[in-house]
Symmetry: C2
Subunit: 279 residues, 2 copies
Amino acid sequence: MNLPSASDPVPDTTAATQTGAPEGAPTKNTAGDYSAMTYCVAVRNEAGLVFLSDSRTNAGVDQINTFRKMHVYEVPGERVLVLLTAGNLAISQSVASGLKVQMGTAGEKSLANAPNLFSAAKIVGEAVRKVHERDAAALKEFGIEFNVSLILGGQIKGEEPRLFNIYAAGNFIEATPETPYFQIGESKYGKPILDRVIGGQLSLDEVAKCCLISMDSTMKSNLSVGLPLDLLCYEKDSFEVKRRAQIDGKDPYFTSLRERWGEQLRKVFNELPDPGYWN
Amino acid sequence: MNLPSASDPVPDTTAATQTGAPEGAPTKNTAGDYSAMTYCVAVRNEAGLVFLSDSRTNAGVDQINTFRKMHVYEVPGERVLVLLTAGNLAISQSVASGLKVQMGTAGEKSLANAPNLFSAAKIVGEAVRKVHERDAAALKEFGIEFNVSLILGGQIKGEEPRLFNIYAAGNFIEATPETPYFQIGESKYGKPILDRVIGGQLSLDEVAKCCLISMDSTMKSNLSVGLPLDLLCYEKDSFEVKRRAQIDGKDPYFTSLRERWGEQLRKVFNELPDPGYWN
């Protein structure tokens, strides 16, 4: 599992410990706290699972860095697990790191041998609690809340695909047909389009399109969420990652989607009648 | 100025002082703190000003009440001032009440005699500071932040229409051609549509339509923002309120706008191509 593996960008720990928050910044960007500085969304439906994450983190306007927030673990034919992280970067990296150590330790319960997704979510929750035990008191002394939020989804042989949202307290909830998606990080700008579209019988590609539009709305209204994006569509019962893309600023599909969505939205807006309350 | 006048609904002070916040509620709903429980937006452009506010406040899911958040002061031919409020209801009512007392006191600086909108914004800021002096310490003992946010806009003879956003500290900023709108309360869900549409040469009715769609997106994603709505369009240099509407759940225009916007959005969504990263 690349949690974080040698191929991941090396975390710039100086950035995470500097206080770069400008006056009036909405969140405290100290001690690795990038609370509202990310956006991840994951959807489960009949066809499988879709995961999308941005990769921007910042500690004030002059400190913008790129960290991957999507971690993938795959045993072809047996299991695919995807973890998305938001919140304090130091905490989420510690959690990911702890999970990786477990997987390399013989005889230890880990994401590599969890019998089902529920057990896997418990393992992630326990990893969060371990970091809490170690770091929460020290963070509190600096006035920093213990802030992390995770999405875990995937499929383990013998089960349907499942999707969980794991909180800072280590507890978690599972997606249902009525609540088929989870968002973490800066979630509000991109929620209306999900609420309007997700829910019907959509293909994975349609769900991916909806998530990309949701991401576009978020990026348009919040500069701290940014490219590149990581997109993964998991096809139910495939037990293999076949559809994964990294989307940067030059990506022709995403560029065209953003332009056309904006244009069409303005067109629809213009075609709707104006209010006539006073005519 | 109906700040609040005898014709306003009588505030149910029991609701405001009860602790009705359910477990896991995002904000503390005690001592009149309805932080994220409202949405107001105001836009200034070449044609004039548009104001829109909802009227829902709640203290937990079983405590939903309706209070007006739009206060209008008009001297036909001379001035029109509109105040929108969000945040702790006890604080915003105290501010509105203080402003009303000032207007009735001979020789006192008030919104009735402020020579320009900037002075009017200062008067509102000072009213906020007075309530802060009186209440902030007591609120702090209950762990409640002094939380209020206001929008003041209008036109006073001799000036162009102006629009201000006044903070809890009593300081304020003014809208500019580059930043032509302000939102207070639960602002994120409804921001993307404003960012996409507002800015061009729009009529007041088009701006009102955009604000109503922004409100619809907010209401769709957050149950705590709700009908009825207060809409006011102020035509530049009219020095008179000619276009004002209260919009409830049976309003045919708003009902049709919501339905058609949702339908058209899904239509545009369906017409856009799916991602083809893995084909």
